[in-house]
Subunit: 324 residues, 2 copies
Amino acid sequence: MKPSPEFSLIQQYFHALTTRREDVIVGIGDDCAVLNNPQDTYTAVSIDTLVQDIHFFADVDPYRLGIKALAVNLSDLAAMGAQPAWFTLALTLPEINDDWLKQFSAGLAYIAKNHQIQLVGGDTTRGPLTITIQVHGHVAKHNILQRNAAESADLICVTGCLGDAAAGLQFRLGQLETGLLTDTDIEYLLQRLEMPTPRNQIGQQLIGKAHAAIDVSDGLLADLNHILNASDKGAKLDVSALPFSAALKKLPTEMATQLALTGGDDYELCFTATVDNVARLKHQFSDMIHVIGEITEDEGMYYQNAHGEWQAFSAIKAGYDHFA
Amino acid sequence: MKPSPEFSLIQQYFHALTTRREDVIVGIGDDCAVLNNPQDTYTAVSIDTLVQDIHFFADVDPYRLGIKALAVNLSDLAAMGAQPAWFTLALTLPEINDDWLKQFSAGLAYIAKNHQIQLVGGDTTRGPLTITIQVHGHVAKHNILQRNAAESADLICVTGCLGDAAAGLQFRLGQLETGLLTDTDIEYLLQRLEMPTPRNQIGQQLIGKAHAAIDVSDGLLADLNHILNASDKGAKLDVSALPFSAALKKLPTEMATQLALTGGDDYELCFTATVDNVARLKHQFSDMIHVIGEITEDEGMYYQNAHGEWQAFSAIKAGYDHFA
């Protein structure tokens, strides 16, 4: 009936994650971590929890889970254009499973190294498997990407492909018709679900070029709706321009479209920018940037139906008010 | 099977906690909070998790739980001498219980207001009741209180009283002989367990006066041992000088002593300082500062037995390596 103020477990398994950056004045092992912020920057922070059986399956590969736990948080930094710096880990475990901890920490170390982000503190407690990570990043003052800055006639863009993670989830739930997919396709979809790729490099390059940005975690319609609500704008979407992976293209188009619009868990970026700036970004990141629509002054989200008429999305999955 | 990127629950119940400080550039409602650090300071951060049935009883008063969840984190800032600024809340709930959330958030709001600390972000997820809070504080550069700076001949001091929380826990477990205690005594002990008082005001005043500091969460011996190990020093304790509350004084001295030495959950500060600086601090905080021993060059922790001989503590409860 007492907290675990020390971090011996984390130190034992996560030591490789804890030593690198010069801006960490005091790392793990004291009451607080002490961190040196660069001048003329703000600190961007985000905290996310993954709970077993809610956010991941109990039998998920712990190496992949380590990657995902940090990836979903890095994705929030990407959506603000912030440069990753430090993270903390609050890990609740039902038991000390040496093999699980080794794999989980190896996955975490892999993605942390890729993003030059250092573990600076944490807490380990006993209980149902729950992983809470808080990330800290730096962003130059007056250069923040927010949700509320979309402007009329902005193009709406997304990075990467949409719907893969949702297809992977349907496969894991035994709900995906796999007749048209190869084993390689299925492994690809599972990887997109279990090891998403946060778009931090692109996110940082959006600063000064994009007006509004968000990461796609709840599903494109729900997340784009956040931008529209915060900016008091509307959108016309070109559903035929949604970017599908080779695997998703093998599914019926209607199913792939539904997955891409409402599936969630993609951790791609959705942003709005002027035509000129989109051209610059497409030049820089070539086939990673896809234009899928346009911001309108009038509120509401519309698409063109088979008859060429603009029609409101009738059932936007309101992921932004859910509790999961 | 998707995270909750939005914070509608938190916004609904915790709104009063979210608006105040001018250094919060972007608060709750975007992908990240964006925070403005004061110049010439470091950021001190600490994260702690409370899990139901491990760290608190399922039937604990949710108002008190709200206070405790932030108090244990504020206590870590106190031990570094850092000034509280911001916190994030990752709340995993089995269900949305309106009454519970109102009381929990009211307790949290009460202690947050007292310490001028603002909620800037969070995540709500469904699952077994788990509360993770990360606090952020500011500390002037080159003025950090750490564990590794104890010096020989420093006096060892603690704030407040020790052992009360442990006695409260024993009462809750039905293991406390209450014959000598009044209802008021028992309510006092429960309050010390369920609503500890972080010593942030004293902690900030230790800067420049104390050498080493830690908060007493695992029990005095375990936590003092952290200072000794980090500083390569030893200690002689005057067990008769341990500060007991009026309630604890009614228990057999041997039991009170054991509770004070090993009980934990007190969230008082333990620090070391020169004789002169202890005199200054005692002048400033009068009866809140108690001298309980002295730092020695030789390692090990000793006390004087009934025959006046110095004897090593035979069984220091090694809370610092536990997993709970």
